[in-house]
Amino acid sequence: MPQTVSPRLRRKETISAYLFLLPSLVFFLGFVVFPMVLCIVTSFFDANMNANKPDVFIGLANYVELWQDKVFLKALVNTIIIVLVSVPVVCVFSLWVASAIYRMKEGPLSFFRVVFYLPVVTGSVAVTVVWKWMYNNYYGIFNYLLKGAGLIEKNINWLGDPKYALACIIIILLTTSVGQPIVLYVSALSNVDNSLVEAAEVDGATNMQCFWRIKWPQIMPTTLYILVITTINSFQCFALIQLLTSGGPNYATETVMYYIYYTAFKLYRFGYGNAMGVILAIFIAVLSAVQFRLAKES
C-alpha cells in the first residue's frame, strides 16, 4: 500500500526544493533571462550611446535594414560556411580519433586525450598568436615548408588573401573544437555494452556492422550533444576573427558574431546589433531543431 504524504510535508519539501534552486535561479534570471529579454526589447529601438539622444522605438526597422546590409549578408554566408564545414568535420574526425584510441591502455589514451584537449584549454590569445606566426606572409612556417617542398613559388598571404583567409580560420577553429568531442566519444564508446558486440561478432557481424548497428545507436545521445554544441560554437566564432583578421580581408572572414560586436561597440548601434543577435539565435534554434529531429528519426 503506497504511503500517503501529508500536504504539509509536501509543501515543506516543495519550499525546500525551491530554496535550493534559488541561488542558481537568481543567476539564471539575472545573467541569462534578463539580458535575453533586454536583447529582444532593445532590437526594436534605435538604441545608441548618445546620452543626449533617448532611444527611439522604431519597430522592425532594424530587422528590415539587416536584409539590405551587404556586410551582414556576407557575414551570415561566412558563418553558415563555417558551420557547414566545421560541424561535420569535427564530428567525423573526433569519432574517428575516439574509435582509434578508446581501446588503448590508460597511458597512451591519456596522452592522446591531452594532445587533442590542449588547444581547448589553452587561451585563445596564445593559440591565435602561434597561428598568426605560422600563417605569416613573410616568415611563417607554412610558406617556408611549402616553398622548401617546391609546392609554391611565391609566399602566400594566408590571412591577407580573401581566397584563403576563411579556410585558415576554419582550420584553427577545428583544432580548438575537436578536443571536447573526442573526450566525450571516448567515454561514450567505452560505455557501449561489449556483450552485444561480442554476440554480434559470434553471429558473424563485420566490424562495420558492429559499429553501425550496435555502437552508433548507443552513442547517439553523445553525437546529438556534440552536434548541438559544435553548431553553437561555430555560429559564435568571434575571438579568432577579432584577434586575427578583424573580419577582413574584404569581409572574407566577417562573421555575424564579429559584426554584432563591431556594430555595437565600434559604431554604438546597440539596437541594430541586438537585432542581429536575435536573428542569429533564430538560426541556431532552427538548426538545433533540425538536428534533434534528424537524430530522433535515425
Binding site: C39, A51, D55, G248, F265, G273
Partner: protein, 451 residues
C-alpha cells in the same frame, strides 16, 4: 519536453552572448535625465581622490613614469590619483562599457578624436572651456586648440602634447641599394619621384616587400592615410570637417600608383604595429607608421635610439609629396573630464589638468610623454626648450611645421576609419584597374559620409 528545453537553452546561450556588455545601454539616457549641475568653481568643494584612465600616450603607458607624476601631484595638492592603464586594442571597449554602466573614470587621457568627437559629442564629458583664458589660447598651438573644441564651442579636452606622424627608412639598406641620393637627410623630406626611385632601387636590390600598405585593421591607419593623401596632394576631409573627401581623383591616382609599384604591397594581414615589427626586424625597408616615440625606441624593444634590430640606422622622413612639402598627420593628446555628476570630483579633475598642462610642472609632464608641448609657454614657463638636451628630439622638430589639418574630429570618425582600411583591402584584392580602385574608393567614402 526535453527537446523544447534544449532549444530554450540554446536560445538563452546566444541571447546572453549577444546581449552581454550592452545590457546597460538603455541606462545611458539616465545621464541626461540628471545632468550634473556644475557649480561655480569658487563654491565647489574639491574631492580628495580622483581616477585617471590613460591610453599609452608615449611614456604614459609606463606605470613608473605616471606614478612619479601623480605622486608629485598628490604631495602638492593632497588629491590622490588612481590610475588605470588602457591599451589601444581594447581601451575603447573598456571606456564604453564603463560609461554605459555609469562607472566612468573622472579623467581620461587621449586625443580629440575620442574625447571631443566621440565621448564629448555623445554627452559624457564636462565642458572645460572655462579653463582656457586668452593667454592660454595664445600659447596653445592653433591646430591643437581648435581640435579640443566641439563645433558648439564646448571644450572637452585640454591639450598637453602633440607630434607629427611620419614614415621611416632603413638608411643602411638605402645606401646598399644606392638609393640614399633620393633622401634629404637635412630636411627629412622627399618628392614622390624620389620616393618611387628609392623603392625601385630597394626592390631591385632586395626584392620582396620594400614597404607595405598595411590594412588589416585600424591600427596605425594615420600612416596609410598620410601616404595616400600626400602622394598627389589629395585630402581626407573638407576644411570644415563636415564631409570625407578621400574620393577625389588625386587619391585614386595615388592608390593606383602605389598598387602598380613593385615593392609596395597592400597587406590585409597586418596593421601598423606589425609593420613596425617587420621594419625593425629588417623584413621591410621602410615603415609608414612612425613617429618620434618610435624613433627614440624602435618597436618599443629598448635596443637603441634610431636603430633596427640589426643595428641599421633608421631615418625618419616626411611623407613624399609632389613638391616635397608634406602635410603630416598630427597626434594631439591631452586630458578630459567625464561627467559623473560629482562637482567635487570635477573640480579635483580640473585641478589635475591645470597642474599637468598649464603650470610649472608642465615641462616634466611633457617630457614624460616623449612628445612635444602643445603650447609655447605655461604660466610663464617657456616650453620651447623642453627637449634642448635631446639631439633626436631637436632634429625631429624640423617636421613639426609640416603638421597638417587635424581632421580626426570629423563627424562619424569611427566608421570612417573602418571604411578606410576596408577600402584599402578592396583595392589590394582588386585587379588594380583604375575603375576598380575608383569603385572601391567611391563605395567606402560614401559609407563614411553616410554615418
Amino acid at each position: 519536453m526535453k527537446k523544447i528545453l534544449a532549444l530554450v537553452m540554446a536560445l538563452c546561450m546566444i541571447f546572453a552572448l549577444a546581449a552581454c556588455g550592452q545590457s546597460a545601454a538603455p541606462a545611458a539616457p539616465a545621464a541626461t535625465e540628471a545632468p550634473a549641475e556644475e557649480a561655480p568653481a569658487e563654491e565647489a568643494a574639491v574631492a580628495s581622490s580622483i581616477s585617471l584612465w590613460t591610453y599609452p600616450v608615449g611614456g604614459y603607458g609606463s606605470e613608473e613614469t605616471v606614478k612619479a607624476i601623480t605622486d608629485a601631484f598628490t604631495a602638492e595638492t593632497g588629491i590622490e590619483v588612481t590610475v588605470e592603464y588602457l591599451t589601444y586594442a581594447d581601451g575603447d571597449d573598456k571606456v564604453n562599457t564603463a560609461l554605459t554602466a555609469g562607472q566612468a573614470p573622472d579623467l581620461i587621457m587621449e586625443g580629440p578624436e575620442r574625447l571631443v568627437s566621440n565621448w564629448g559629442a555623445n554627452g559624457y564629458m564636462v565642458d572645460i572651456s572655462d579653463m582656457f583664458d586668452d593667454t592660454d589660447k595664445s600659447e596653445i598651438n592653433a591646430a591643437a586648440l581648435a581640435a579640443c573644441f566641439a563645433p558648439d564651442g564646448a571644450a572637452y579636452e585640454y591639450p598637453l602634447v602633440m607630434t607629427a606622424h611620419c614614415m621611416a627608412v632603413n638608411l643602411n639598406a638605402l645606401k646598399e641599394a644606392g638609393a640614399d641620393q633620393y633622401v634629404d637627410l637635412e630636411s627629412h623630406t622627399w618628392t614622390t619621384e624620389q620616393f618611387a626611385e628609392a623603392v625601385k632601387a630597394l626592390y631591385a636590390k632586395f626584392g620582396g616587400t620594400v614597404g607595405a600598405v598595411y590594412c588589416g585593421g585600424q591600427g596605425g591607419d594615420q600612416g596609410t592615410r598620410a601616404l595616400v593623401n600626400n602622394y598627389y596632394g589629395g585630402t581626407f576631409t573638407n576644411a570644415e570637417h563636415t564631409a570625407y573627401t578621400w574620393d577625389d581623383a588625386k587619391n585614386i591616382q595615388a592608390l593606383k600608383t602605389l598598387y602598380d609599384m613593385e615593392g609596395i604591397d597592400f597587406d590585409a594581414a597586418i596593421v601598423g604595429g606589425d609593420e613596425i615589427a617587420n621594419f625593425y626586424n629588417g623584413v621591410f625597408k621602410m615603415a609608414f607608421c612612425w613617429n618620434i616615440a618610435q624613433q627614440l625606441n624602435p618597436n618599443s624593444a629598448g635596443t637603441g635610439e634610431g636603430k633596427t634590430l640589426n643595428g641599421d640606422d633608421i631615418v625618419f622622413m616626411a611623407f613624399p609629396s609632389e613638391d616635397g612639402v608634406a602635410n603630416l598627420q598630427g597626434g594631439i593628446w591631452g586630458l578630459g573630464v567625464f561627467d559623473n555628476g560629482d562637482a567635487a570630483k570635477i573640480e579635483a579633475a580640473k585641478t589635475f589638468i591645470k597642474w599637468m598642462c598649464d603650470s610649472e610642472h608642465t615641462p616634466e609632464a611633457v617630457r614624460a610623454s616623449n612628445f612635444f608641448a602643445a603650447r609655447s609657454a605655461a604660466e610663464g614657463v617657456d616650453l620651447s626648450g623642453v627637449w634642448a638636451d635631446n639631439e633626436i628630439m631637436n632634429e625631429y622638430t624640423k617636421l613639426m611645421p609640416m603638421l597638417g589639418d587635424y581632421y580626426q574630429v570629423t563627424t562619424g570618425w569611427a566608421a570612417a576609419r573602418t571604411a578606410w582600411w576596408n577600402m584599402l583591402q578592396q583595392v589590394g584584392a582588386s585587379d588594380g584597374s583604375e575603375d576598380a580602385i575608383a569603385a572601391a574608393v567611391a563605395e567606402f567614402c560614401g559609407q563614411a559620409n553616410a554615418q
